[in-house]
Each structure stands twice: as structure tokens, then as C-alpha cells.
């Protein structure tokens, strides 16, 4: 057990660090929930993409570097430690892209991913409806079959980034129906400037249009923009939900960097006699460290799973070789070794693959994010009252903006109440009861 990067991982980290040191904007960009900030963040995405740092874990053919999960963790740590901006393309790169990798066609990946990676097309999510939030399967917006595609009708709400984004993805009732509300849903992508789409921005707590209502009246979606089989949208969407709650959306680097800034703030400004506040700072530092370390364990299991898959492939090849060349002892030994390794790792892989593990992360990071920012504001005293737009705002407004953002964490991506139900039922084995 160790936490040391391999030579390759260390080289990757050093390359990222030196590039970031040279390119990260010296002052925080304006909030990405404003028109001006959105444009500035989009421009930053282009710079990242032009230098190959936009989506490091993607395959190279889509603009990535094929980085391992460990390398991604290292990159994220460097990225946020360097004070680099939050990612305006996150809905696409962290939610839609994993869905396309799992369920999309080669044509969809080739068409959608590159302009997503460089910020040319920024995506909004269209999940919730006025009657469907935590109970997402109660959604009513429909997709009706038409020649060569589907027509979307209905209303979506709380659509993050939709005020300024280019396209959206979400679930609609349509396709072969089943007995349960989860069946008969179809997962589609659609443009926000298409005929029949009305976008009405909604201002969040601090007045910024961070999300929007979408009114859809016969919006045409061609068949090629349906992800997975029509009617199977729920299954497709659940892989996206796992990403949203898991590590990739809320990378540990973000919290370790914020915790380091908080500890520095404590040393600079705090009253050493205020041990109650000191303990809250310490708890935030501890929790950020815990989140980072748990991510390291996840990365290890993913590496292990990849090694196990490779071993199975080798075993298959060895079996084929054995068949070709009769009874070669070395081939038999290879088969045995690979089979043993695969068996030993099956249990771990099963655990790593349990989507409820993402719920454990979601509850933890959302509460950590909130605690970090609440503690910072308390530490800042009167300056904690200032909005991120104020000239005097400490940290270039980072704490104020981060606070407002963190307030939503326990609500979006599936409320923490729903996540706790998932943990209790799928990890602790308690009965499903009333919500």
C-alpha cells in the first residue's frame, strides 16, 4: 500500500503543474453563472483544449490523453491547487460524456465529444420537472414518434447552465412502455435554440441565472440524437447519475485546494482563542483529506479492475494459443495464473462497481463543500457578507461564490435524503419503506 506516484504518473503531474503555472489566469474569472463569466470560462476551456488539458482521461482520438484515474486525480489536484477556474463544460464532460462512452454509438461519440471538449458546445442538463425531482421517474415531458425522429413536448425545470448553454440532454416519456414508471423513457440530446424551445432563466439565491425552465413544444430530435434504445432511457440515465454523484464530478482536488486555502485563512486571520472555529477548520481539512484518500482507493481498484480485464484477455489468448499448438505447458500455466488473479479480484471489482458507492461519496462531498464554505465565511467575519461581485470580496470572491454554489450540493444530483435511502437499502440491506 502506498500513495507515491509511479515515475510515469509523476512525470504526468510535473508536466501538468508546469503548464498550469504558466497559463492559469492570475485573478479568478467572473462567476460562470453570469453572461460575462460564462464567456470567460468558455474561452478558458478553449485554451485548455488547445493544449490537451481539457479532458485528460478521455481517449486521445476525442481530445484526451488517455490518463488513468490516478493520473486524473493528480491532474485535478494540480489544477485546483494552481487556482484554476471551475469548469463550465462539466455537465457535458462529466455527465453526458460517460453516458456516451457507455451507451452511445461511435458516430455519436465522434460527432458530440470533440466540440464538447473544447467548449464550442456547452451542455445543460434537462432532468427535473415541476412534478419530478427526487422522484425522477414521475416525469411527464414526452417524446412522440415522428418520421425520422421524435417530437418533444412539456416542461423541464432547474436546468443547470441552460441560461447560456448550447444544447441539453435529458429523459422523456416515450418509446415502448412497461409496467413501471421507470420503463418507457427515452434519453435524448437537443439544441436549446431549436424551434419550439423556450428558455426562461431562473435566478438562484444570489440573483444569478444559474438554471432555467425549458418549455418544449414539438421540438424535433432526429433518431441519431437518441442515446441507447428508445424506452431504455432510465437504465442509460442511471450510469450518468452515478457519475454525477461519484468522484468525477466533484473531484478531490477541488476540496483539498479549498481546505488548504481555508487553513491558510485560519492562520492569517483567526483568533487563536476561538477553538470552536479552529475545530471546524480542522474538520474540513480532515474531511477533504479523507475524500482525497478514498478517491485514491477507488483509483487503485479501477487500476486493479483494468489489470484483471487485461489478465482475462491474456488468458483468452493463451487458451487460443494452447488450442493451436496442442498441449503447451507454458500456455496452461498462463491460463491458470490469469484465472486465479481474476477470481481474487472479482469481489473487489463488484464492490467498486456498486453504484451505491457513489451515493456515499455524494453525501460526503456535498456536506464537506458546505462546511468548508460556511467555515470560511464565519472566519471572514464582516467580509463574509460581501457578494463575489464586491470589489472588497476576500479571495477575489471565491469564498462567496463557492458558498452559494455549495448550498445547492445537498439538493441536486439526487437529494441527500434519496442518497441516504440508497445507502441504507443497497449497502446496509435495510428494507425499502416509505420515503
Amino acid at each position: 500500500m502506498d500513495l507515491d506516484p509511479s515515475p510515469d504518473e509523476a512525470a504526468f503531474r510535473a508536466e501538468a503543474r508546469s503548464w498550469l503555472a504558466a497559463h492559469v489566469p492570475t485573478a479568478p474569472l467572473p462567476s460562470l453563472e453570469t453572461a460575462e463569466g460564462f464567456a470567460a470560462h468558455r474561452a478558458w476551456e478553449r485554451i485548455l483544449a488547445a493544449n490537451g488539458w481539457s479532458v485528460v482521461s478521455w481517449p486521445r482520438r476525442y481530445g484526451g490523453r488517455g490518463a488513468s484515474t490516478t493520473e486524473w486525480l493528480l491532474f485535478e489536484q494540480e489544477y485546483y491547487a494552481a487556482g484554476a477556474p471551475g469548469r463550465v463544460s462539466q455537465n457535458g464532460t462529466q455527465l453526458l460524456a460517460p453516458t456516451l462512452f457507455a451507451h452511445g454509438t461511435a458516430e455519436q461519440r465522434a460527432r458530440v465529444l470533440p466540440p464538447m471538449a473544447d467548449g464550442e458546445v456547452i451542455w445543460a442538463q434537462a432532468w427535473s420537472e415541476p412534478e419530478a425531482g427526487s422522484d425522477l421517474a414521475a416525469l411527464r415531458a414526452t417524446a412522440r414518434r415522428t418520421s425520422g425522429g421524435w417530437l418533444l413536448y412539456g416542461q423541464k425545470t432547474w436546468s443547470s447552465r441552460a441560461a447560456f448553454a448550447d444544447r441539453a440532454f435529458g429523459l422523456f416519456r416515450g418509446g415502448p412502455a412497461g409496467e413501471r414508471p421507470h420503463q418507457g423513457l427515452t434519453y435524448v440530446m437537443f439544441p436549446l435554440d431549436a424551434p419550439g424551445v423556450t428558455v426562461r432563466p431562473i435566478r438562484r439565491l444570489d440573483g444569478k441565472p444559474a438554471f432555467a425552465e425549458l418549455f418544449l413544444d414539438g421540438v424535433f430530435v432526429p433518431d441519431r440524437d437518441v442515446i441507447g434504445e428508445p424506452g431504455q432511457g432510465w437504465r442509460v440515465a442511471m450510469s450518468t447519475a452515478g457519475s454525477e454523484r461519484g468522484l468525477t464530478l466533484r473531484s478531490p482536488g477541488r476540496f483539498t485546494a479549498a481546505a488548504a486555502r481555508l487553513a491558510a485563512l485560519w492562520r492569517e486571520r483567526a483568533d487563536p482563542a476561538d477553538t470552536a472555529l479552529r475545530d471546524r477548520v480542522a474538520d474540513a481539512v480532515i474531511a477533504a483529506r479523507a475524500y482525497h484518500l478514498r478517491a485514491c482507493a477507488t483509483a487503485t481498484r479501477e487500476t486493479e479492475a483494468a489489470a484483471s480485464r487485461a489478465a482475462e484477455t491474456r488468458a483468452g489468448e493463451a487458451r487460443a494459443a494452447e488450442t493451436r499448438s496442442g498441449t503447451r505447458a507454458s500456455a496452461r500455466a498462463t491460463v491458470r495464473r490469469a484465472a486465479t488473479a481474476a477470481t481474487a479480484r472479482a469481489a473487489d471489482r463488484q464492490r467498486a462497481d456498486n453504484p451505491a458507492e457513489a451515493s456515499v461519496n455524494k453525501v460526503f462531498w456535498s456536506e464537506l463543500d458546505l462546511a468548508l464554505h460556511e467555515t470560511a465565511l464565519d472566519l471572514l467575519g464582516p467580509y463574509g457578507e460581501l457578494s463575489d461581485a464586491a470589489a472588497d470580496a476576500p479571495g477575489g470572491g471565491r469564498w462567496a461564490e463557492g458558498y452559494v454554489f455549495s448550498l445547492a450540493g445537498p439538493v441536486y444530483a439526487g437529494t441527500n435524503e434519496i442518497q441516504r435511502d440508497i445507502i441504507a437499502e443497497r449497502l446496509l440491506g435495510l428494507d425499502r419503506g416509505r420515503r
Binding site: 500500500m1 475545530d279 480542522a282 474538520d283 480532515i286 479523507a290 475524500y291 487503485t300 441516504r420 419503506g433
Partner: protein, 432 residues
Amino acid sequence: MWFDLDDAQREFARTLNRMLSAADTPAVARAWAAGEHGPGRALWTRLSDAGVFALAVPEAYEGVGPLPVELAVALIEAGRHAVPGPLVETVAASALLTALAEEADASAGDPGDNAQALGGTTPSTGDTPRNPDSTTPSTGHNPRNPDSTTPSTGENPQNPDSTAPSTGHNPQNPGSTTGNADDATKDAHDTARGPDDITESSARAAAGFWLPRIASGRASVTLAAPAGGPYALDADAADAVFVVEAEGPTLRLAAGHSPVQPSFDPARRLARPVPAGTVLARGRAVAAATARATDWAAFATAAQTLGVGLTLLDRTVAYAKQRAQFGRPIGSFQAVKHRLADVHVALEFARPLLYGAAVALARGARDAGAAVAAAKVAAGEAAYDAARAALQLHGALGYTDEYPLSLWFRKARALRMAWGSPAHCRARVLAG
């Protein structure tokens, strides 16, 4: 990067779990609480046969360590099964003696530095070997091992001070006697051979004597140090009571202990070491070794605490599945589910902190103490949350001495404060 247990480490955990499940450990803990140490000693022998106590002892002293990851694995299992006895203190004493011996070795290699650090130079060898057993009767040396009289390292034997001519107070440290009724006894041990000499010869001799015995399970020891409070855990059962006193600082082999004080967790038997006994070492080396031992104690406590929390959660989940009210299992109520889910989340995030601290300790990292403190806070709070949830969800049943839940509940409370309070650990985290 490879941040996960390997197959051998998982198998080690499974082996211990099977053994402790079969041993009816709760009954052992009950007996221990009543002062019957027989079943507990038998269990310790089985633990040491499985290699547990060798993990904190270096190979030079017949151990296999230090292996903090494996130690964490073992202590999590010990906590899960409520194994009684000074587990943490034995680990910490191992770290203390190892650190002192290493310091003595390093000093012996560089007499100039030694002079500076310890206030004088001295030959590191040359004492006449004596029977080490003759120096330890007051601490109840393990009678099960009569052949243990030859120090395995061939270094100086145990406690030459005790037989050296007494010439009165230590001139380097006149304040080290505390002026109590035991001064006469104390003076007999507190010879005037000089603090550096004490460090070099007797600390190394103590390491050579005790560490192989700890590693093999022939001895269980306990330790009282300023960071751990005034009491020595399970001194009545231990083969040696080591005491670090702030003055000097001084490492002493206590000549005995006060009567056992009743405590909230009766399986944790608390007694004050008497302020008399053989001085083994004094000075800066003791301070450094004690700091290291305290980190190991906090680390071992965190591991044991995590195990306690895991059992409290497991038992409460099992209870919530079978206990019905209003016609359905209480585990189907959202208020119950959410409380247990929160406990699960907290324990699951304490675990990587513990292993992160193990990695830091294994490397001797500069920030190992902060990493240990973080793990201690997280494990302590998570286990205590688990204890409170367990008590609440078991209802009045959980509030009884008789029901086994009490074994873990009481331990969760005690371990939260043992070897570093939450406030102390949080301050340590911020100090880096």
C-alpha cells in the same frame, strides 16, 4: 500508486476475524472486566501466534515490523471483537523502546553528536551482563517463559542501574525525584551514572530484553505517558508497566501500580503506576521516542476505534432488520435508515484516513503525526456516532449492561479520548 489492501492483508483480516469469532471474545472481555485474566491471556497468545504483536517490533528484535498497515488490519479486527487488554499500549511501548534503541545506536555511531544531545559521552557497552529477570520481579515478569533470561541481541542486559552502586541523586536532573514517600525506593534505582549512560545502555538493554518478548507474545506490557493521561491501562495484567514522566523526561519501569480504579468501560482497567522503579532513560532521546510512541498509540487507538464503530453499525443494522414496530421492521423507517446511512458514510471515510496514516508512518513522513491525528478524529467521531445511534435504535435494551452492545458502546466512549482528545488531534492537524 497502490492504495488498497493486498490479498495477503485481506486474508490476515479474515483469519483474525474467524479466530476471534470462534473464541467467544465477548465472554473473554467480561472475564477481563472482572479481573480474571486467564482467558484474555490465552487469547493474546493466539493473537501473537497469528503474528499480531510482532508487527510493531523491528526484525532486529525478532519482530517482523514495523508494519503499520498490517497493524491497522489487526487492530480493526481486535476492535470489532472487543478484544480486551493493553493492545495499544503494547504497540506504543514497542515503538518507544525501538526509538530509544535506534537513538542509542545512532549516538554510539557518532560520539560527538551524542555529547551534544545528551550532555556527555560514554561507552555504549562494557557492562557486565546480569540476569535480567532479577531486575523485574516487581512488575510480575511473565512466568510462562522461564528461558527468557538471555537478552537476544547480546547487548547489555536489562537494568544495570538496579544493581549499580547507588551514589544518590542524578546530578543532571535533581528535579526528577518527586519527593513522595517512595523516594527511598526511587533513589535506589536512580543512580548517578548520568543520563546519557542510562539512555545508551539501559534503553538498549530494555529494548533487547522486552521487544523479542513482546513480538513473540511472551510479554504484554503497558505504558503511561503524559499524552495518554495518568493511568496505565491493564497494569494489573501486564508484565511490565512503562512510565514516561514529563520531568527529564524520564522513562521508568514502574515498581508497581495503585489498585484498579472502576471505569466506565470495566474491560479497560485503569491504575496509576507508582512513582518508583527503575529509570531506563532520560533526556532528549526520551522526548523524541515518546513523541513517536504517542503517534503510534494514537494510530493504534484509531484502528481499534474503527473496528468498534464497524461492529456497532453491523449489530444495529441487524437489529433494525428484525425488530418490528407498527407492523414493520424499524429499519424500513426513513429516520432510522438515514441515521444508519450517516454512520456508514462516516466510518467509510475514516477508513482511508487510517490507511493514509499507516502509509505516512511506514515512510516516517514528516506529517505522519498530523495524518494520525486526522485518522484519530475521524475514527473517534464516527465510532461515537455509531455508538449513539446503536443506543438510540436498540431502545432500552441497548441501555443495559447485560446486552453485549454495552461492550462496544463503552469502548467507543473511552477510545474517543484515549491517546489524544479530539481537540488535541484537531490542533495537531492544523499544526501540520
